[in-house]
Assembly symmetry: C2
């Protein structure tokens, strides 16, 4: 299964395409961080983000979009922009009849590192290992988007067994 | 000038088209409340909302979209859905190269009733009077969307003078 992981954000939005490989490891197909300048109007930023998301969907044809869940309790200052970025991702998915799933930060960390309390460095290191990458993915938004894809693939009980 | 007022919401999104009339009153061209069922996936709800917004933009060709500003401090429970609905409206506007402006609830109430502390009933009554409607617009989301359009037109200092 091919999954698009989206770590939503207006300033930096991580977008990764991963799939389960025959070796039972995870194959990273593509990862990018879509950036928009904070001094642009929000409407323009959302439009740029939409284009980046659409182009990844069209090029790599994922079957599922896994988005990090946005909570209103955290980061009050940025929650609106993050929610809007996540909304645009959902909209792009729905338009392409892609299934949308959300995972919490704790689920993502736990799936990738074994601990829901892992820090960014641990997540990045495990992403590098799981995908058999020569270098650790940077910035954190890229690693998070890949981790989201991994989390979704490993949430599948059958696959989770196969990889463990 | 023809303005589209949007009172963003996932469950009910007020969408109004108003323009300044030669009489210096405000003419209500169209108003609707786009509704989506809470049991649908968010992605589907955003897609339905997008379609309603696009169809209003295409049919009535407004020059500006005036959206109620979303604050993270208020209604923590619904802020994410409201922010996403506002984001979809902005995206639709940007795609049609419509200018986007936001107004705060206080600005809207003050523009329509003269008091930033007016209640929903007062706003609805003033909207009815300003647009010379036979009946008060219902529900509140419809009245709020019209009030947004009025607020935007009356924020224009030249027009504001002309109508006062």
């Amino acid at each position: 299964m091919r999954v698009m992981g989206v770590d939503p954000g207006l300033t930096r939005c991580g977008i990764a395409i991963v799939q389960d490989a025959p070796s039972r490891k995870i194959e990273l197909i593509q990862v990018q961080v879509a950036r928009t300048l904070p001094n642009l109007p929000t409407a323009e930023r959302l439009l740029l983000l939409e284009r980046a998301l659409i182009s990844m969907v069209e090029e790599f044809e994922p079957e599922v979009m896994a988005i990090e869940q946005v909570f209103s309790q955290h980061n009050l200052k940025s929650v609106i922009g993050t929610a809007q970025a996540a909304g645009v991702a959902m909209l792009v998915a729905a338009r392409s009849q892609l299934k949308v799933v959300t995972h919490t930060p704790t689920q993502i960390k736990a799936a990738v590192t074994g601990s829901g309390r892992a820090d960014k460095k641990q997540v990045t290191q495990m992403v590098k290992k799981i995908c058999n990458l020569q270098e650790a993915p940077k910035p954190a938004d890229a690693a998070d988007a890949i981790a989201l894809g991994i989390c979704h693939l490993w949430h599948n009980p059958k696959l989770a067994k196969a990889v463990s």
